[in-house]
C-alpha cells in the first residue's frame, strides 16, 4: 500500500505470495540498474555540459573489458531471474494430484461454471478455502481468458480444446473474475465474482442454500448420456466390446495404434468423443463415430466425469462432499 492506496491485489491464494515476491525481486534488480544508468546520465549531462558547442569530447572509443562485463553480468542476472520465474511458473501450471474439479465454459459474454455434483453458476464461482481447486474450461465461440487477479492465475479459453487453471484459496472473501482476452462488444462486461467460503458455508451452499442444481451430479448425467448415445454398446466394462473398456482409463497411459503413447486426461477424452478418428487405441479398429455437433460442452464434461468415476470397484470419490 502506498499512502493507503493499494499497489497489489489481495493475496488470496497459496501461490499469490510467491508471485508477488518474484515481482518485488525483479523490481529490486531492475530498479538497481535503472537507477545507476539514470544517475550516470544526469550526472554526466550536467558535469560535462558545454554551453558553446565548440569544445570536443575526450577521444575515448571503448573498452572491451567493460563491454564484456556489462554483457556478461546482465546475462547471468537474467538467467537467475529466468530460473526463479520458471520455478514459479511450474507451480502455477502443475496442479496437485488431488483437486476439486470444476468445469467452465466461456461464451460471449458470460462464464458458466458447472460443479461436478450438478450445481451450476453463471458469472459466479463458489469455492471452499484451503482446498486445491482446478477449473477445466473451454470456449463455445471465440477466444476468452479466465483471469482471477487475487489468485494470480490466468489462461486463455480456446474453442475446440480444454484449458485449465488451479488454485488453493487462502482467504475467505469475494474476488474479481475477468475475461482477459478481447472477445467483442461486451468483453469488459464478461466479469464475475469468486466467492471463497469457509468449508462449512461451502457445504451449505452446495446443499442448496444458494446453488442452482440442475438435478443430479455430472457423473450421473454422464451415465445417462453414456446409455442414450449408445457408448455402452461398444465400450463394455470387461473389454470384450468393439471399443476399449473405459474402467480406470482416466489418468492412465494409452498406446495408440501408431505406436505413440498418450496420457488419458480430459483433453484426450474430449478429443476421443468429438473426433475419435485422430487417436485410435492400439489393437482396435477405427469404428467410433464422431459426436461433434451431437453433444454440447456440458455433455462432454458430464461424460468425462462419468468416465472418471469408472474405477475398479467403488466410484472414485471426486465429489465435493469428501474432504481431501
Amino acid at each position: 500500500m502506498l499512502f493507503g492506496f493499494p499497489l497489489f491485489p489481495t493475496q488470496a491464494s497459496t501461490l499469490a505470495p510467491e508471485i508477488d515476491n518474484l515481482y518485488l525481486g525483479v523490481i529490486a534488480i531492475t530498479a538497481f540498474f535503472a537507477i545507476i544508468v539514470v544517475v550516470c546520465v544526469i550526472f554526466f549531462a550536467i558535469k560535462y555540459r558545454d554551453h558553446t558547442g565548440d569544445k570536443v569530447g575526450a577521444p575515448i572509443t571503448g573498452s572491451v573489458p567493460l563491454e564484456l562485463g556489462w554483457s556478461f553480468i546482465p546475462f547471468v542476472i537474467s538467467i537467475g531471474i529466468f530460473v526463479w520465474a520458471s520455478v514459479v511458473f511450474f507451480h502455477l501450471v502443475r496442479a496437485p494430484d488431488q483437486t476439486l474439479d470444476i468445469y467452465s465454459t466461456g461464451k460471449r459474454w458470460m462464464w458458466r461454471f458447472q460443479h461436478i455434483d450438478g450445481q451450476r453458476e453463471i458469472n459466479e464461482l463458489h469455492v471452499p478455502v484451503g482446498r486445491a481447486v482446478r477449473v477445466v474450461f473451454t470456449s463455445e465461440d471465440v477466444l476468452h481468458d479466465l483471469f482471477i487477479p487475487a489468485f494470480r492465475v490466468k489462461a486463455d479459453a480456446v474453442p475446440g480444446r480444454y484449458s485449465a487453471i488451479w488454485f488453493e484459496a487462502t482467504k475467505v472473501g469475494e474476488y474479481h473474475l475477468f475475461c482477459a482476452e478481447y472477445c467483442g462488444t461486451n468483453h469488459s462486461g464478461m466479469i464475475g465474482t469468486v466467492y471463497v467460503m469457509e468449508p462449512a458455508d461451502y457445504q451449505a451452499w452446495l446443499a442448496g442454500g444458494g446453488a442452482i442444481n440442475s438435478g443430479g451430479s455430472m457423473a450421473d448425467r454422464g451415465a445417462q448420456l453414456f446409455t442414450q448415445l449408445a457408448c455402452v454398446t461398444c465400450h463394455l466394462g470387461d473389454g470384450s466390446g468393439r471399443g476399449p473398456s473405459l474402467v480406470g482409463v482416466f489418468g492412465s497411459t494409452i498406446t495408440l495404434n501408431d505406436g505413440t503413447n498418450v496420457v488419458a486426461d480430459e483433453s484426450y477424452l474430449r478429443e476421443s468423443i468429438l473426433t475419435s478418428q485422430a487417436k485410435t487405441v492400439a489393437g482396435y479398429q477405427q469404428l467410433m463415430p464422431t459426436f461433434q455437433g451431437l453433444v454440447n460442452e456440458n455433455d462432454v464434461a458430464s461424460l468425462i466425469e462419468y468416465i472418471k468415476s469408472m474405477q475398479q470397484g467403488a466410484a472414485r470419490s471426486a465429489s465435493a462432499q469428501a474432504a481431501p
Binding site: 492506496f5 499497489l7 491485489p9 508471485i19 518474484l22 515481482y23 531492475t30 535503472a34 544508468v37 539514470v38 554526466f44 549531462a45 560535462y48 555540459r49 558545454d50 558547442g53 569544445k55 570536443v56 569530447g57 575526450a58 577521444p59 575515448i60 572509443t61 571503448g62 573498452s63 567493460l66 563491454e67 546482465p74 537474467s78 538467467i79 529466468f82 526463479w84 520465474a85 514459479v88 511458473f89 511450474f90 460471449r108 465461440d141 471465440v142 477466444l143 481468458d145 487477479p149 494470480r152 490466468k154 486463455d156 480456446v158 474453442p159 475446440g160 480444446r161 474479481h176 475477468f178 475475461c179 482477459a180 482476452e181 478481447y182 467483442g184 462488444t185 468483453h187 469488459s188 473426433t275
Partner: protein, 538 residues
C-alpha cells in the same frame, strides 16, 4: 579540417515547383517529405483515437462512447499507430532522406521502386481510413481468430487488405535500403566507417524483408477465411485459432524491432554529435543492432504464454526473450558511457535523447517482467503490458523519431526552429508521458485487463491520473507542429552544418542539392572523428 561548403541557390525543394514534380519524383529526399506528410497525418489520427480512449477511461462507466465504438477506437488507434506511424516513421521519413546522404550516394538503389513504396503505403492508408469511415474495425490490431473471422461484424476485410497492401511498402523499402547500403557507399566508406544509423537501418531492413511477408500471408489467410470461407483457423473444422497467433506474432514481434532499431540509430547519431565524441564501443553497438534483428525472430511465442502452448516451449521462449534484452542493455550502457567526458551541448535533439534514455530504460526493463513466466501469467493481457509497450514504442521509438526530426530538420528544410520551444516540447512529452503510462503499470498488477471499456470503480484514480497525463502529452506532441511550420517561413537559415557535426550529410548545403553532392565524396576516416577535427561552422 572542414572546408567551406559550396552553396548553390538550387536545392531539391526549389528546383522544380509543380505538384507533378513532387508526386512523380524519384528523389529520395522528396519521397522522405512525402512520407512525412502521410505519417504525420496518421499520427494525428491515431492521437485523436487515443484522446477519445483516455477520455472514456476517466470514468468507470461507459458514458462517453458505446462499447462497440470504444472497441473500434482502440483497434484503430493500434492499427494506425503500428502500421502507419511506428513502422515507417524513422526508416521511411528520416532513413529515406538521410541515408543516401550519409553514405555519400546520389540516391537509393531503386528510386522508382522507392516512389512506388510511397504509393503503396498511401494506398494502404487510404484503404484503412476508408474502413474507418465505413464504421471501423473492432478486432484489436492483433486480429485474433475466431473473432476476426467469424465473430466481428466490422470492416475486417477492408482493414486487412489495407494493412496487407502497406506491408509491401515496408518490404520494398527494406530491400531498397539493403541494396543501397551494400552497393552504393562512397569510396572509402567501409562497413566500419558507416555511421551507426546506417547499421541500424540495415538491421531493420533485414527484419522488414524477412518478417513482413509472413504478416502478409497471415492477413491473406484471414481475408480468405472471412471473405471466401476458406477454413484455416476455424475450430469448427478442426482448425487452430492459436496457429493464427503464431503466424501473426512471427512478424509482429520482429516488427517491434523494426520500430525501435532505427530510433536507436538516431540516438547514436545525436548522442555522438551533442557529446562531441565517438560513440563508446562503436562495433559493439553495430553488432548489437544485428543481434537484436536476429534474436528478434526467435521470441514470438512470448505473446502466447497463456494461449495454450506447452510449458516446455514456454520455457524456451522465455529464455530467448531474456537473451534478446541483452544487446539492448549493451547499447544503453554504451550510450551512457558516450556521455562520460563528452562536451555535452544541451540542444533540443539532445533533450529528446535524454528522454529516450529514461523511458526506453523503463520500457526495456519491464519487458523482463513479462519474459518472466511466473509473472507473465498474472501480467499478460493487463494494463502492465499496455504500459510496457507504450514506454518502448512511444517513450522509445517516438522520442527517437522526434530526436531525429529535430536533428535533421535544418538539413531537410534549411531552417532552424526555436530551440527553447523545442526543449519545452521535449519536457512536456517526457512529463506527460510518465504521468500517462506510469500509473498503468500499477493498474496492470492490480488486475485491470486491457481493452476494457468499463472497469471496476477501484481502478478509477489511476485511470484519472493517466488521462491527465495524456492531455499534457497531447500538448507536447502538437507543439512541434507549430514551431516547425513557423520555421519554414521565419526560421533562421541553418547553413550546411549548424550542429557542427561529423557525417557526410553535413558536408553538403542545407537543403541539399537535388543530386546530393556536387562531387562524389571520398571518405578517409571513421564516422565520429570529433577529436581529430577542428569543427568550424559552415
Amino acid at each position: 579540417m572542414q572546408t567551406q561548403v559550396m552553396e548553390s541557390p538550387v536545392n531539391y525543394i526549389n528546383h522544380r515547383h509543380t505538384v507533378a514534380s513532387w508526386l512523380l519524383t524519384k528523389d529520395h529526399k522528396r519521397i522522405g517529405i512525402l512520407y512525412l506528410i502521410v505519417v504525420s497525418t496518421a499520427f494525428a489520427l491515431g492521437g485523436i483515437f487515443a484522446m477519445l480512449i483516455r477520455m472514456e477511461l476517466t470514468t468507470p462507466a461507459g458514458d462517453l462512447l458505446s462499447a462497440d465504438v470504444y472497441n473500434r477506437m482502440f483497434t484503430m488507434h493500434g492499427v494506425t499507430m503500428v502500421f502507419f506511424v511506428l513502422v515507417p516513421a524513422v526508416p521511411a521519413v528520416l532513413g529515406n532522406f538521410v541515408m543516401p546522404l550519409m553514405i555519400g550516394a546520389k540516391d537509393v538503389a531503386f528510386p522508382k521502386l522507392n516512389l512506388l513504396s510511397w504509393y503503396v503505403f498511401t494506398t494502404g492508408f487510404i484503404f484503412t481510413v476508408t474502413a474507418m469511415i465505413l464504421g471501423g474495425v473492432d478486432t484489436g490490431w492483433t486480429f485474433y481468430t475466431p473473432y476476426s473471422t467469424q465473430g466481428s461484424e466490422s470492416n475486417v476485410l477492408i482493414t486487412g487488405i489495407g494493412v496487407f497492401i502497406t506491408g509491401f511498402s515496408s518490404i520494398l523499402t527494406g530491400l531498397n535500403f539493403m541494396v543501397t547500403i551494400h552497393r552504393m557507399r562512397a569510396p572509402g566508406m567501409t562497413w566500419f566507417r558507416l555511421p551507426l544509423f546506417i547499421w541500424a537501418l540495415y538491421a531493420t531492413s533485414l527484419v522488414m524483408v524477412l518478417g513482413t511477408p509472413v504478416i502478409a500471408i497471415t492477413l491473406l489467410m484471414l481475408v480468405l477465411e472471412r471473405g471466401l470461407h476458406l477454413g484455416i483457423f476455424d475450430p469448427r473444422l478442426g482448425g487452430d485459432p492459436v496457429l493464427f497467433q503464431h503466424l501473426f506474432w512471427f512478424y509482429s514481434h520482429p516488427a517491434v524491432y523494426i520500430m525501435i532499431l532505427p530510433p536507436m540509430g538516431v540516438i547514436s547519431e545525436v548522442i555522438a554529435c551533442f557529446s562531441r565524441k565517438n560513440v563508446f564501443g562503436y562495433s559493439f553497438v553495430a553488432f548489437s543492432s544485428l543481434a537484436i534483428a536476429v534474436f528478434g525472430f526467435l521470441v514470438w511465442a512470448h505473446h502466447l504464454f497463456v494461449a495454450g502452448i506447452s510449458p516446455y516451449s514456454a520455457l524456451i521462449f522465455s529464455f530467448l526473450s531474456f537473451a534478446v534484452a541483452i544487446p539492448s542493455a549493451v547499447k544503453t550502457f554504451n550510450w551512457t558511457a558516450t556521455l562520460y567526458k563528452g562536451a555535452i551541448w544541451w540542444k533540443t535533439p539532445m533533450m529528446f535523447v535524454f528522454g529516450f534514455l529514461g523511458l526506453f530504460l523503463v520500457g526495456g526493463l519491464t519487458g523482463l517482467f513479462l519474459a518472466s513466466l511466473g509473472l507473465d501469467v498474472h501480467l499478460t493481457d493487463t494494463y502492465f503490458v499496455v504500459a510496457h509497450f507504450h514506454y518502448i514504442m512511444v517513450g522509445g521509438a517516438i522520442m527517437g523519431y522526434f530526436a531525429g526530426l529535430h536533428y535533421w530538420w535544418p538539413k531537410m528544410t534549411g531552417r532552424m526552429y526555436n530551440d527553447t520551444l523545442g526543449k519545452l516540447a521535449a519536457l512536456l512529452i517526457f512529463v506527460g508521458f510518465n504521468l500517462t503510462f506510469g500509473p498503468q503499470f500499477i493498474l496492470g498488477y492490480l488486475g485491470m485487463p486491457r481493452r476494457y471499456h468499463v472497469y471496476p470503480p477501484e481502478f478509477q484514480v489511476l485511470n484519472v491520473l493517466s488521462s491527465a497525463g495524456a492531455s499534457i502529452l497531447a500538448v507536447g506532441y502538437v507543439l512541434p507542429a507549430f514551431y516547425f511550420l513557423y520555421s519554414l517561413k521565419y526560421g533562421a537559415k541553418a547553413g550546411a552544418n549548424p550542429w557542427k557535426a561529423t557525417g557526410l550529410e553535413w558536408t553538403t548545403q542545407s537543403p541539399p542539392l537535388p543530386e546530393n553532392f556536387s562531387q562524389t565524396p571520398i571518405v578517409t576516416e571513421g564516422a565520429y572523428a570529433y577529436s581529430k577535427r577542428e569543427i568550424k561552422v559552415a
